[in-house]
Symmetry: C2
Subunit: 767 residues, 2 copies
């Protein structure tokens, strides 16, 4: 796939219509506001290849699991994000001919995602039958101010004829998920209603009773004057629409406005959905398109104020990083602790749109640094709310105590159904504990520990306690049969990362308990009682910490990814003929498993998370050993390597790693963007810049920077929120400047030097 | 499930009708003749639970694979045995009421599988509406003389009324497989035809164009006189039948004869199928039911002459072992090298009815000892014929040379789709090599090696050569990422059994090459040329043999099942609370994997196969170590343990192991007989008696016996064919007698003593 998008600092632009790229563009140009989102499907009829997708956050479907061979413990269902009512639909019929870019001759096609202001525009000329030519200009957005509102402005100008326009503005709930396991449709009808200019459609899911009501109002304007045309209603099962007719006059623009209010029983009384969506719609219509669009632009301006990264001297890089930040902000707004970040956001269905460890491991740092504390706190509370389900999950797998969070989930229940992942990739439990540490370390919000954190930590620790086994003849604790972060190994023994993160969890849990004991003994006692924690249990944890087995090779001076790793044929990826790459498309699974090649950071993930525990030489030896064997066939891989490479001074490697995900979707690097964007990996790219090139860390409650700048760039700057302050960090080839955009004074450590940075001041340090 | 079958030496008998047991009985009372077979479905309508199944050997369907998560190298299709035209159907309508044992009041129900003569009878009284009572007696068989012929005699006697009988004798091709992955039907119609007393139906499979034609003739008799009733035809899509009417007179028997000729395009020109089935039917009808049944009985007498086992003093054991021998003889007759032995024979659909390593590891010995040499030779040729596909399979998994036979197959292509089995359970390749060794060792047919064997051996050896990897720092060859016979471990390194059978294959292949070189240098050179074998390759094999790594624990003096086995928590099954058993129903997969518990013989499988390589102390230490950890959750497990226990003098353990499979299906021991019988494990039970209690081996071309008799039995005797001789071995508590039922003299070694046994003589040795 050749990159086809135009480079631009603030917009994603596609010029010329190429149907082959359409599904990729549908992903890339997606819109979202945390509450709902949609792929960039066309409003009008399109009979070419397209993946239709319109999603409501938190509305999911437990689809019956499909497996070849059932194993005990598999979940009955795989919860998946649900394609919902298509509320953008506008069937445009001109002189009896359905406008369809798959059939018309299209020219001057331009599509633009305006990231600065948060809207999508599209313009083109289409030649219809008999040479009739029209010009269309469409703009739409989903509002980040009024979360339930979406709006469309659709202009049509006939260029060489007079004729008749027939517009059917509709709601279509008879949609399907492309990834349905048994090709079922997931929605049942509830009701529909029509009035002169409004249509309303209510549907509910076949399981779990999610109810969704969309109400639309359509207006037709000519030269800023609304036409008084009465819609003719069409009601079918799971479909409601209104058809309008208007004359078309050569070179005269006709504008269709479509407003939609999309509400669900997640947020409202289910008996009131139609009424509420009507009221929301009233408000939106009263504001009007222009005003809504203006509010949208100014709300996005606010977002950028806290989260923008500016790269000078490299437009492609600038566009790439802004696209990532934009998509992250479209996906998760953090106001609803029931929501989380699906691997594709609102851009596609793949991977079920559920929550993975990606959230804690890769996404949390972005939200920590670019949004208010409560946003990332909500990400943590999401897991707290799933604790009971995580305990049930552990019981289901035969554990007598503790909690095992699921690998993939929507509602706290496991959705994944490969034993090597579901049952074995338990290191995710460690990432959830680490997320708590990371949050408290960044925000200083220790109150979280006593309020929620300690309970999650204790239950995860209990799981680890039961999951390890003591090997008497070696006097160590081991962890058998796991899959580490490197999913190109299954059922290994003593994956170092898993052993370490497990033991670390025990350490941190004991530390948190000590902290509570010292700081609020009453609260501590309450937890001890509630959790029935006893001395024996905590002693056992100390014993495990003391005797945990960590595979290593003393001769090479490296940590071993797992037992017997060196029995493999060890060779670098560079020695493979490129015809073998990517391995996951060219090798059978057993060949991948037997090989030394690594999908994503595993030992190095541990060195990244627990960075402070290791000296630079250890990191270097392990990086030098493992990175050359790493194929980075997860989009979550390069970022961790980029950050470590920065720390080790491997500048070229760092930049190289950064490039692998910086424009992953814009350049369709993995040839799979048509399925949706790699939303969680976008957060990883953000980390590459801020934690990698910026060298940002929080150490002992201090804001630390060790920046360097790739030689390809003139400068880069990023914004972060830190404990009430907003800092803007600008790095160029000579120096680094930190500007305090708040009134708060704070110490910052730049290139190892601690400096007091006063409110609304800047300091500059030369490299 | 309570055992409900009556003990009897020669028959399986069910008295009283219990619908709950019906599907189990449908499996147990199955009929087959190697060419076709069927579950014991009722002829008349039955609306209760039933698994309808009628199968033609070698007619299969490549059903589209169903998986949760696709992996490279998975097969597109899973070939499965195909439920085919139901040719037994007789709809019995009495005074307008459909006879249906699910609705009638049933009494005096008796079902009997007569194993001595090879037929199934059923008799019952049924009370219909208004108190009308009838008596029914039905007999049917599939002929082992005329392989395409099945015949039914169905007697109806009204006991308390006069009335009208309406019989529809039909062929129903609109059948489905219960195990269809996507609930599709697999047959398309071709044609049907009807005459006065015959109906014919032809169908073909939706893929692969298997064509099947069944033609039936129906006759109605009263008091040995055929009625001249004309059938009224019914033709529907994939259905053809004829309806007859006859008066019913109180206490007067009406007999329906139904003959079916079932032919396929596997054996005949597909344009001639209807004609051929008509001709076959002519012959059968000419013989008549009585004669066909008589010939059937006498042919079964012949079978028993070669294969019977007599156990005195234990009717249940007698019945159990005969049932096993009977089912094996029904399943595979060995005349067609395109056929093999499905895990359920013709008794059900589960496991797809395909070929597993069961054939070489567990079934071959039975056919070697109880059937002519060509029968087991055909089992070997089956694999020879699949060699090209096995080479393709290896290529598909990325190997540059050699052959990897599939785990499950119908036509040589892999059908299995779990990576841990499909790609990793490669020890099957060793069993196929071992089958050649076993065959030649038993029969002395060394010509097979030069004709077919060497090519298979060389290609398997080449696979092993590529599959091992050299570990320079240890100067050994290892085999990473395999699943051994114990499928409760996946992706282990250096499974001892796999390493050993691989290395053994190389040894045996080199031995066979040497043998050919010495015995027929011209032929040897032809093979060297054809196979492009060179010195370097053979040297590499020697190096692998020399440096193969075998895990062991010197302190315990045991072989290790795999690397790191002792890092597990080691405990005997006896220490588990019984609520955990069977593990495969109570534990999640990862818990099973992490545990030490063993599904079936693994290290001990090696000690069984390569018995002569190990001294008795080694066998004892390993048996004592592994057997207590073995849960025997494969029906193929107990036999190997029984045989080794016999060798080690563990008499109680041996008998205990024997009992676990002796009546596996008759007593529905595993609660799954309704899916079909455990056909391949039946051969294992035979091995327990002959190789275990009988202690039969062929060592250095000599027939060796080391018998002992369980204290529960008075005597047992078995027959074997050995190199042209038929021997009857009788063992009682005092002595063993070997009777030579042939004219050939041969040496036999009994309890270590070599004795010349002359033709038609017997010798007796006291224990």
């Amino acid at each position: 796939m050749k990159p086809y998008l135009k480079e631009h600092e603030w917009s994603i632009i596609e010029e010329g219509f190429n149907p082959e790229n359409h599904e990729i563009s549908e992903s890339v140009f997606s819109l979202g506001n945390g509450h709902m989102g949609q792929r960039a499907n066309f409003e009008e009829t399109y009979t070419g290849s397209s993946l239709q997708g319109s999603y409501m956050a938190g509305v999911y479907y437990p689809d019956k699991t499909r497996v070849g061979w059932w194993k005990n413990g598999y979940p009955e269902n795989f919860a998946k994000v649900l394609n919902s009512i298509n509320w953008i639909g506008l069937q445009i019929v001109i002189d009896g001919e359905d406008l369809d870019l798959n059939k018309a001759v299209v020219s001057d096609f331009v599509r633009e995602l305006n990231m600065k202001e948060g809207n999508l525009t599209r313009s083109f000329e289409a030649e219809l039958r008999e040479g009739k030519r029209i010009r269309v200009q469409a703009t739409r957005f989903v509002s980040i101010v009024d979360k339930e509102i979406g709006a469309i402005k659709y202009d049509i100008t006939p260029l060489n004829f007079d004729g008749t326009l027939q517009v059917t503005s509709y709601l279509d709930g008879d949609v399907r998920n492309q990834d349905a396991n048994y090709d079922e449709k997931f929605w049942d009808p509830i009701d529909s209603s029509l009035s002169k200019d409004r249509a309303s459609l209510s549907v509910k899911t076949k399981k779990l009773n999610f109810q969704f009501c969309s109400t639309i109002e359509t207006q037709i304007f000519k030269a800023d004057k609304q036409l008084d045309v009465e819609g003719i209603g069409i009601e079918e099962i799971k479909y409601a629409g209104l058809t309008y007719k208007a004359p078309l006059v050569k070179n005269e623009k006709t504008t269709i406005y479509k407003y939609a209010a999309n509400v669900t029983n997640r947020d409202h009384d289910e008996n009131q959905l139609e009424i509420i969506s009507g009221k929301e719609l009233d408000k939106a219509v009263a504001k009007g398109f222009k005003q809504l669009k203006k509010e949208q632009a100014s709300a996005w301006k606010e977002k950028w104020l806290n989260s923008d990264i500016v790269i000078e001297g490299d437009v492609a890089a600038q566009q790439g990083i802004r696209f990532n930040i934009y998509q992250l902000n479209q996906t998760y707004s953090g106001e609803d602790a029931r929501l989380n970040i699906g691997p594709k956001g609102f851009t596609g269905e793949k991977y079920g749109g559920s929550t993975y460890w990606d959230t804690e491991a890769y996404c949390l740092p972005f939200y920590l640094a670019t949004a208010e504390e409560r946003i990332s706190r909500n990400l943590l509370i999401y897991r707290y709310n799933h604790l009971e389900k995580a305990k049930e999950n552990a019981r289901k797998l035969g554990f007598e105590k503790g909690a095992l969070y699921p690998m993939v989930t929507m509602n706290g229940e496991e959705s994944h159904n490969e034993w090597e992942i579901t049952f074995e990739e338990i290191h995710r439990n460690g990432a959830i504990a680490y997320g708590i540490y990371n949050y408290v370390n960044y925000t200083g919000d220790k109150a979280y520990l006593g309020e929620y954190g300690v309970e999650v930590l204790v239950e995860i620790s209990r799981f680890w306690e039961e999951r390890v086994n003591y090997v008497p003849q070696k006097d160590v604790y081991m962890m058998l049969g796991v899959t580490g972060p490197n999913e190109y190994e299954n059922n290994v023994h003593n994956n170092w990362y898993t052993n370490r993160i497990a033991s670390w969890t025990l350490e941190y849990t004991l530390y948190v308990l000590d902290y509570l004991k010292d700081s609020d003994n009453k609260l501590y006692q309450q937890w001890i009682d509630k959790l029935k924690l006893n001395e024996k249990e905590m002693k056992k944890w100390l014993d495990i910490i003391d005797k945990m087995y960590y595979p290593e090779d003393k001769k090479l001076g490296v940590i071993l990814q797992q037992d017997n790793f060196l029995d493999k044929e060890i060779l670098p990826v560079a020695d493979l003929d490129s015809k073998h790459l990517p391995l996951n498309q060219n090798w059978s699974w057993d060949r991948i498993l037997r090989s030394c090649f690594i999908k994503q950071a595993d030992v190095l993930q541990g060195l990244y998370f627990l960075n402070h525990e290791f000296d630079i030489e250890t990191k270097k030896r392990n990086f030098d050993f493992y990175e050359p064997m790493t194929v980075h066939e997860s989009s979550l891989s390069p970022c961790v390597h980029a950050i470590l490479a920065c720390e080790l001074g491997y500048k070229d490697k760092a930049y190289d790693m950064y490039l692998r995900t910086a424009r992953l979707d814009l350049d369709n690097y993995n040839n799979d963007t048509e399925d949706g964007c790699h939303t969680t990996s976008m957060a990883g790219t953000w980390m590459s810049v801020v934690q990698g090139f910026g060298g940002m860390k929080i150490t002992n409650d201090q804001f630390v920077l060790n920046p360097f700048i790739p030689s390809q760039w003139t400068s880069f700057s990023f914004k972060v929120l830190f404990r009430g302050a907003r800092l803007m960090i600008r790095v160029d080839q000579e120096e680094v400047t930190v500007t305090n955009e708040s009134a708060l004074s704070l110490d910052v450590v730049i290139h190892g030097e601690k400096i007091l940075l006063k409110g609304n001041k800047a300091i500059t340090v030369t490299h």
